[in-house]
């Protein structure tokens, strides 16, 4: 799967997991982000598959 955290590409070896598992693996707090899978905003319980593109967008303001 292809993962972008705030626009930066991350290499992830994890496959066939849920969005919340991926966030945990990345050390990202689910309360602080919105997740987009294959172009659609989705819930963190969504199952991911090989080839999925995941964008993790920070919801917290930086200033």
């Amino acid at each position: 799967m292809i993962v972008f955290v705030d626009g930066k590409k991350k290499d992830i070896s994890k496959e066939d997991c849920r969005v919340c598992d991926l966030l945990e693996e990345l050390g990202v707090n689910r309360e602080a982000v919105v997740t987009v899978v294959n172009g659609e905003i989705t819930v963190e319980e969504t199952e991911l598959s090989e080839g999925d593109e995941i964008k993790i967008i920070s919801a917290v303001s930086g200033g």
Partner: protein, 308 residues
């Protein structure tokens, strides 16, 4: 996962267990803002409501939702943008705010820190001894109030959300500052101080970002170059960790605070008029004038040094 209506799920609200599709989320969100305004008696019929807008997600969502319910509330909206003068940061916010206001057919009024203090924020942080966030916070508050007075506005709405409120409460708990805990209630004590309202103060930051993304709002996402790792960032991360482990903690922080301010009495400080600008202040010279005067001296010294 599906919403109760059968639509595709876009959000699981863990603290209540509800699942929302886009349409149901938008309905919930807009109703929540309306209910917050009503339950906290923020707005009266025919009020002229100013909105401090930065082009960021919170103020853009606030403006967008208020414009949808302004007719029902019988109010008019008056967006105000403060240009701090931060190179490479503010421009994208101005562009986003201008586009949003244009699409909503609202007139955007802009004011700048340079007009008030004679220097941009970039220059102030070079010249002065205080932190950039001190200049920004104090001068921005003053400018917003000044603009609101000039436009004869009844209320001044800001985009502060549930996370901002929970963080502010926690920071004041840690400092043991009961007076500041009371001040968070935002009760204006002088007729020249426009009453501040925070219609998003019961909505988590994550839901605000979700609303902005779902509705494709024009939002600037640049980070302020002066916002580094600070006390608030640590408190924010701490609260988000608690919320992740135990959904609903942010709401509990707010309800705990409400009980504390009900059962405690703040120290009453008499209000004065600033000797320099005549603005209401708890000091004889308001903090904004104090900072501006300090900068004037620094500027003079710097000019003298160059001349020497």
């Amino acid at each position: 996962m599906k919403c109760a209506c059968g639509g595709k799920a876009v959000y699981t609200r863990r603290y209540s267990g509800q699942i929302f599709c886009k349409k149901c989320f938008n309905n919930y969100f807009e109703r929540k803002v309306h209910d917050t305004i009503r339950s906290q008696k923020m707005i009266n019929r025919l009020d002229r409501v100013g909105i401090g807008i930065s082009g960021g997600k919170d103020s853009t969502v606030l403006l967008s939702v208020l414009s949808k319910i302004a007719g029902k509330l019988e109010i008019t909206l008056h967006p105000i943008l403060i240009d701090e003068g931060i190179t490479g940061y503010r421009l994208s916010g101005i562009n986003a705010a201008e586009k949003t206001c244009k699409s909503l057919r609202l007139n955007l009024k802009m004011a700048s820190i340079k007009d008030l203090a004679g220097s941009t924020l970039d220059e102030l942080q070079e010249l002065g001894d205080s932190k950039p966030c001190t200049y920004c916070g104090v001068l921005r508050r003053k400018l917003l109030n000044k603009e609101a007075n000039e436009q004869k506005l009844d209320k001044l709405a800001t985009g502060h959300n549930l996370d901002d409120e929970a963080q502010a409460i926690m920071m004041n708990y840690v400092a043991g500052d009961i007076n500041r805990l009371h001040r968070l209630k935002g009760t204006a004590t002088d007729s020249d101080l426009i009453k501040r309202i925070k219609p998003l103060n019961r909505i988590p930051e994550k839901e605000i970002m979700l609303y902005a993304l779902l509705n494709k709002l024009e939002v600037a996402s640049d980070e302020c170059p002066y916002a580094g790792e600070n006390h608030r960032t640590k408190i924010r991360d701490f609260i988000n960790t608690l919320e992740s482990d135990q959904p609903g903690v942010k709401h509990k922080i707010i309800s705990g605070w409400e009980k504390i301010i009900e059962t405690s009495t703040p120290e009453k400080k008499p209000m004065h008029k600033c000797k320099i600008c005549n603005h209401p202040s708890s000091r004889k010279i308001c903090r904004s004038c104090e900072l501006t005067e300090e900068i004037k001296i620094k500027r003079k010294d710097a000019t003298k040094e160059v001349a020497d």
